[in-house]
């Protein structure tokens, strides 16, 4: 391909200028690729959580302070439910006292909601306790040690795995007691929230309606939160944020496109006489058009590939540092951004090169030859 060869040599003729044009594309593609991968990773991570908790409903009292035993029974008639009582209290570990969330749960429910990292779960009516991962870390707690809650000194029989921020309970900075111990300590009546796990994710919506219909028949006494909706809301938010970031990335690509347009325009003007000679000795308009388009294609391809690889690297860093998970990077939906970045780089560059190339091909040989 003689015109491809021409394009390469013409770019090499003005190395510095070509490198600057490529840098513009690199930055634009880097932005698009990195932001695309980041947005996608966040979306994937949200989807993963949705998968874990998407079948969960949380029932909160509306107006009143707690969900009564009677209301709970009505929920249980519809589906299996996990009642949770909670408060915040001062707990003493060894000699350090701290404010933590204290949850009271039926022993059979605990393993459905949290996971133990060490030790065991609570037995029925146990007077022991479980501690969350952060509490355990902060106070260097081990299984077998004791905590002081009000008048009681429950033994720590299990330490939980980290769960992250939840919409139902936040066990990481909490201790969990059996329902019996909790009510003896706090004299609680009713429940602060009820967690409902629906077997089939398709029936979540229906179950939510059923609970609302039954309990809120006369007046609203409970609010039912569908975690799926919350996670989807977050997903939508992240989608919007990543779209916004992609928009910013695109702007930098547009700027890069303008710089390529500029470089190519300069090039056509400088090479007017050369184009005249080429046309005079038998080069077709198409040939000239192709030569200039190849030049912008080469700039775009080099910038695109470098930008996409750097963007991938930045995406990796961000995934590892913020999401602490690199596997999202290699998901096909993330890798798409690698190729999308390259395609955008080449596309922008070629589109920017269209006008100068067209102008060069339109030059009349006789006028171009006269140009000094």
């Amino acid at each position: 391909m003689i015109f491809f060869e021409f394009a390469k040599r013409n770019l090499a003729r003005h190395k510095f200028r070509s490198v600057l044009a490529v840098i513009g594309i690199v930055i634009g593609v880097l932005a698009i690729t990195a932001l695309g991968i980041l947005g996608n990773s966040v979306r994937l991570s949200a989807s993963e959580q949705l998968h874990l908790i998407g079948n969960e409903l949380v029932v909160f009292p509306y107006g009143g302070e707690t969900i009564s035993e009677d209301q709970f029974t009505q929920i249980e008639k519809i589906t299996d439910a996990i009642p949770v009582t909670s408060t915040v209290d001062k707990v003493i570990f060894d000699e350090d006292s701290t404010l933590v969330a204290v949850y009271g749960m039926r022993s059979e429910d605990i393993s459905k909601v949290v996971e133990k990292a060490d030790g065991q779960y609570l037995k029925h009516g146990s007077s022991n306790c479980l501690v969350g991962s952060r509490v355990a870390d902060d106070f260097e707690l081990r299984v077998g040690e004791r905590a002081t809650v009000k008048t009681q000194k429950p033994r720590i029989v299990g330490i939980l795995t980290e769960r992250g921020i939840g919409f139902d309970i936040n066990p990481d900075s909490a201790i969990i007691l059996s329902d019996k111990l909790f009510s003896s300590l706090y004299n609680a009546s009713g429940y602060n929230l009820v967690i409902v796990k629906v077997d089939d994710i398709e029936e979540v919506e229906e179950t939510r309606k059923e609970i609302e219909d039954r309990l809120n028949k006369k007046e609203q006494v409970v609010v039912v939160m569908e975690l799926k909706m919350i996670v989807e809301g977050i997903k939508d938010l992240f989608d919007m944020i990543s779209l916004f970031l992609l928009g910013i990335g695109s702007i930098s690509l547009v700027v890069a496109g303008v710089s390529i347009l500029n470089v190519m325009m300069m090039s056509t003007v400088e090479r007017t006489k050369e184009i005249g000679v080429m046309r005079a000795i038998g080069t077709s308009k198409k040939g000239i058009l192709r030569m200039f388009l190849f030049e912008s294609l080469i700039l775009g391809a080099i910038g695109g590939v470098i930008g996409a690889l750097l963007g991938f690297g930045v995406g990796y860093l961000v995934d590892v540092l913020i999401l602490k998970e690199a596997s999202y990077l290699f998901a096909p939906s993330s890798l798409v951004y690698l190729f999308l970045g390259i395609a955008f780089g080449i596309g922008t560059s070629v589109i920017s090169g269209l006008y100068p190339a067209w102008r060069a091909s339109k030059l009349k040989p006789i006028e171009a030859l006269r140009y000094e």
Binding site: I2, F6, R9, N10, R13, K273, E274, V277, M278, R279, A280, I281, G282, T283, S284, K285, G287, P365, I366, L369
Partner: protein, 224 residues
């Protein structure tokens, strides 16, 4: 003898803001294959316009032009480009080699445009035939002297084996010794059968040719 260039009542008028200028006025002429013609005349007499019209770089306002027996009046850009590529070789005053190509690549370029195979060997052959050392083949035009660049330009003009070579003041940028060499080269080329039409204002240069068209005010005043 076959007629390679035929002009019938060719007129060229340039429309300018201050009025129109008649660069060529009802010019009729023909050049036979194997001829060596110089076009002379004072500046502004229409020499270069005539050469450009013969070279299919410009079109007449009226009249008919035939190249190699083919009427080119009214042909589109694509067809004219092909005629320039296949039937005509150009030699310019300022050599006009393509700066990114080596000497050999410059010579091979018209052949590559045409898609001919074996252009490497033929370019080498042409280099030798215009009296250039093969070693210079890899040099870029800027690394060659003016005379050598013009030799490369002549080789390039010959590469597609054209019927006619059009030369616009081919010695205009050269010293007298090199001018003589280039004229000898063009003469040799003509002796091998290629028609040469050349614009010049130098009578010494014109003396190499077989015929001279004397142009005055856009008309051929005399043919000697």
């Amino acid at each position: 003898m076959m007629i390679v260039v035929e002009l019938v009542e060719v007129t060229k008028v340039y429309e300018l803001p201050r009025g129109s200028i008649k660069a060529l006025d009802n010019v009729s002429a023909s050049v036979e294959a194997g001829d060596f013609v110089s076009i002379m005349g004072p500046s502004g007499s229409g020499k270069t316009t005539l050469l450009n019209i013969i070279g299919c770089l410009d079109t007449p306002t009226s009249g008919r032009v035939a190249i190699g027996g083919e009427n080119v009046s009214g042909l589109g850009d694509e067809d004219l480009t092909k005629i320039r590529r296949d039937k005509i070789g150009f030699v310019f005053q300022q050599f006009n080699l393509i700066p990114t190509l080596t000497a050999l690549e410059n010579i091979a370029y018209p052949m590559r445009l045409k898609g001919l195979s074996g252009h490497e060997e033929r370019s080498m052959e042409l280099m030798r035939s215009v009296g250039l050392d093969e070693k210079l083949g890899e040099n870029k035009p800027t690394e060659l002297s003016g005379g050598k660049q013009q030799r490369v330009a002549v080789a390039r003009a010959l590469s597609n084996d054209p019927d006619t070579i059009l030369a616009d003041e081919p010695t205009g940028n050269l010293d007298s010794k090199t001018s003589k060499d280039i004229m000898e080269l063009l003469k040799e080329t003509n002796e091998r059968g290629t028609t040469v039409i050349m614009v010049t204002h130098d009578p010494l240069v014109a003396s190499y040719t077989k015929r001279t068209f004397q142009l005055v005010d856009g008309r051929i005043e005399s043919t000697a």
